[in-house]
């Protein structure tokens, strides 16, 4: 084993995944939103929504490009950085990975067609049909990769006898206990994040003084969708907690700083650890028992049940808190917005409220990142829980640091390039100009 290779492989994996996940999340959620906008546009015969779909699709091309290349990097890095792990995992869980490539394929083909056939069909509905495979393909690929990740948390579908893998059942491995909550939570948080990111942009335009009805329609549609997705996120997040309580109690206990197994467990928010003592934390009585078992008096397993070397790092507590706070906050913001629209309250047009909506996009991305860090760091020291530790899975190469530097530069270039390109693309073709151009062609 090569200690420094293990360390640097972890860092490089963290960097690559944390970067890929931003673009991947956009790749999962944005096609659904384009589809909804396009459909609303066709149904109501409203050119504004069709333009929304068209402009989002244009931006989507840029984020997809980065998603695709960083995903390719990720896919190969799994073998390059974790050769021992992949050799074992390949025999057990190659199926969803292989299925995922078909989902990509399907998505890639129809995305190419959708992007290059605007105005080619007399009937707009036909064009919209082409988007359905894109949206399905993207969500399916997220589903399959998440199944792989779920397997790492709750491996099953094989027996290990004297280090040999026998009785391998690929489908049982795929349908592991972690899968339902994980897949559902990942998908719905991707939809939620994309709704709030696009809502941020609309709110930004409105705050900067544009009073165009286009942005107002966009904001209203996105906040409605964002609200629905956030409700689903919180409910499924709660199920994720129940999954953890049953199958990975050490992850939940570390995330909650729940050191002693006890009944009537309180939820600990923030605070600091001082010599094993929790200080300055907000404690909400009974709520951890509710989160874990839907019962305020239920017993929740604490870290005392596990040997110290199998405890996940305690700092995942903060990741959990940040994610949950953001979920609650966005639920509140979108609910208030909808209520205000209904009751005709005017404060939602004020600068400060729009500013809060603008924050929603970046906050949701932070929730995605902290959520993944919670899930992955919380699995440590295991790469395949109960079977293989992260250190055993890693490469022994001495060049990982250098690769980390090179890839960090790459991601920096990609991040700057994508932001600059998106900015230019929309600055050079603002909505007012595009509407004017289309109406002069007689389309509106």
């Amino acid at each position: 084993m090569n200690e420094s290779a293990v360390f640097w492989s972890r860092i490089l994996t963290e960097v690559t995944l944390s970067f890929h996940i931003i673009y991947a999340t956009l790749g999962v959620g944005v096609p659904i939103l384009i589809m909804i906008a396009h459909w609303v546009g066709i149904k109501n015969n409203d050119e504004h929504y069709i333009l929304m779909a068209r402009r989002w699709a244009r931006g989507f091309v840029i984020t997809v490009a980065v998603g695709v290349v960083t995903g390719t990097v990720m896919g190969l890095q799994l073998s390059l950085l974790w050769p021992n792990f992949m050799q074992v995992a390949g025999q057990l869980i190659a199926l969803p990975l292989f299925l995922e490539t078909f989902a990509f394929f399907f998505e890639a083909i129809f995305l190419g067609i959708y992007l290059y056939t605007w105005d080619r069909f007399e009937n707009q509905k036909k064009h919209l049909l082409l988007l359905i495979p894109v949206a399905i393909g993207a969500s399916m690929s997220a589903m399959f990769i998440t199944i792989l990740n779920a397997f790492m948390n709750a491996p099953q579908g094989f027996d290990m006898v004297d280090g040999q893998l026998i009785n391998i059942q690929p489908l049982v491995a795929m349908f592991n206990p972690a899968m339902p909550t994980k897949v559902a939570h990942v998908l719905v948080t991707a939809y939620m994040t994309c709704a709030f990111i696009l809502a941020s942009i609309a709110a930004y335009k409105l705050m900067r003084g544009s009073n165009h009805i286009y942005h107002k329609k966009a904001l209203y549609l996105l906040m409605k969708l964002g609200f629905i997705f956030t409700v689903a996120t919180v409910i499924i997040g709660d199920f994720s907690g129940k999954y953890l309580a049953e199958y990975q109690p050490e992850k939940l206990a570390a995330a909650e700083w729940h050191f002693e197994t006890s009944e009537n467990a309180p939820l600990v928010l923030f605070g600091v650890l001082d010599d094993g003592e929790i200080k300055y934390a907000i404690e909400i009585p009974y709520i951890l028992s509710v989160l874990a078992h839907s019962n305020p008096t239920a017993e929740v397993i604490g870290l005392d049940q596990f040997p110290v070397e199998e405890h996940p790092p305690y700092y995942i507590h903060y990741f959990f808190d940040v994610m949950v706070m953001i979920g609650m906050f966005m639920l509140f913001v979108s609910a208030i917005y909808l209520l205000a629209i209904w009751r005709k309250w005017s404060f939602i047009r004020s600068k400060w409220f729009r500013f809060i909506v603008i924050l929603g996009g970046p906050l949701s991305v932070i929730a995605i990142e902290t959520g993944w860090w919670l899930a992955e760091v919380g699995r440590q020291p295991w790469v395949l829980r109960g079977y293989m530790t992260t250190a055993e899975g890693a490469t022994t190469s001495n060049h990982v640091e250098l690769m980390l530097i090179l890839f960090s530069i790459l991601y920096f270039i990609l991040a700057v390039g994508s932001i600059v390109t998106l900015h230019r693309m929309f600055k050079n073709n603002p909505i007012v100009k595009e509407i004017a151009k289309r109406s002069s062609k007689g389309d509106v």
Partner: protein
């Protein structure tokens, strides 16, 4: 047929698909850069763009399919190749990423930038060169087992004439394949100037291609006599490939039936590629890893094959639709309408 044989045939076929469409893509990028730098971009750029734009993402998926498939069917390759290829493949990945992303940035964001075009064109030649090193490594002689862990000797790799001949062949093949393809595509688009220019490039690269290919076979004799024998065993497949190559260049020379030339080109490369693959059998990494000892368990193998059949049933019609709309559609190829999002 055994599981491992089905697996390797499917993967090899996909790798062939990647080699062909990626060559068209890489070469097109190079010709585009060359024409921008020599101020002839008005002749080539629009034809190249029209072909590349809708299909670039699909090209990448072929590669993903190959490396995911090989880890699925032959999990031990992850261990052997994963350990030794960290540096070479990382470099290919960085080039591939920059090129892929900047293609999208350039064609949808800020068009016509000289610097982008040049970097893009050069990266397109460096990528096949760096990827082809993987094939060289698989030939054996550059990897040693040190305490059960495979280790790559960079010095031997980079001082070996075989390495450099394979690099040269990969670059020349890229330039030749894409020139022939673009001759046909431009001809179909009714763009005489572009077709003539590409025809000229195709003819220019045909002689170096033949020399590089024959050179490599000779290199093998010195590098690894066993592998050389295996190549000689299938000499007739290589011979068919050579004949097809001669007919293709003849058609180009006579400016006749470009459509036929394209089909012959693909067949020529298919013969050479599969002949090479057969001569490589059964080794995945000579002499440590064969397809027999690295194959996955029976259950997973069957599951993968079923998925492959179902997936193919979905993909073949979709790919057909893609090509029908953008490669065989006369109006699109001629640029009759602008329907880009």
């Amino acid at each position: 047929m055994t599981l491992q044989l089905i697996g390797i045939c499917v993967l090899w076929a996909f790798l062939f698909g990647y080699v062909i469409i990626a060559s068209i893509d890489f070469g097109a990028g190079f010709y585009n850069a060359y024409s921008v730098l020599t101020n002839r971009s008005d002749i080539l750029s629009s034809v190249i763009k029209r072909y590349l734009s809708p299909v670039w993402e699909v090209t990448n998926v072929f590669l993903v399919f190959f490396f995911v498939g090989i880890v699925g069917f032959f999990p031990q390759t992850a261990y052997y190749y994963g350990t030794i290829l960290l540096v070479p493949v990382s470099i290919s990945l960085i080039l591939l990423s920059v090129r892929g992303a900047y293609y999208a940035f350039e064609s949808y964001g800020v068009a016509g930038h000289k610097g982008y075009a040049t970097a893009y064109g050069i990266a397109g030649l460096l990528i096949p060169a760096s990827l082809s090193v993987v094939l060289t490594i698989s030939e054996g002689g550059y990897v040693k087992m040190v305490g059960g862990v495979p280790q790559l000797s960079y010095r031997e790799l980079f001082t070996s004439p075989l390495t450099w001949s394979i690099v040269v062949l990969s670059i020349v093949a890229v330039l030749y394949i894409s020139a022939v393809f673009l001759t046909w595509y431009a001809h179909k688009a009714g763009d005489k100037n572009a077709a003539n220019l590409m025809r000229k490039y195709a003819l220019i690269w045909s002689a170096p291609l033949a020399i590089a290919a024959i050179g490599i076979i000779i290199e093998f004799k010195g590098h690894n006599p066993f592998r050389f024998e295996r190549i000689i065993d299938v000499w007739w497949l290589f011979a068919i490939s050579g004949v097809l190559f001669l007919i293709t260049t003849y058609l180009l020379w006579m400016k006749r039936s470009y459509g036929m030339a394209i089909i012959l080109l693909f067949t020529q490369f298919a013969f050479a590629f599969f002949a090479y693959g057969i001569s490589h059998y059964p080794y995945l990494l000579y002499p440590y890893l064969t397809i027999h000892d690295s194959v996955t368990n029976h259950e997973m193998g069957i599951a993968l094959i079923i998925v492959f059949i179902l997936g193919a049933a979905l993909l073949v019609p979709s790919l057909y639709l893609l090509f029908k709309l953008f490669v065989f559609d006369k109006d699109y190829v001629e640029g009759a309408h602008d329907e880009h999002v």
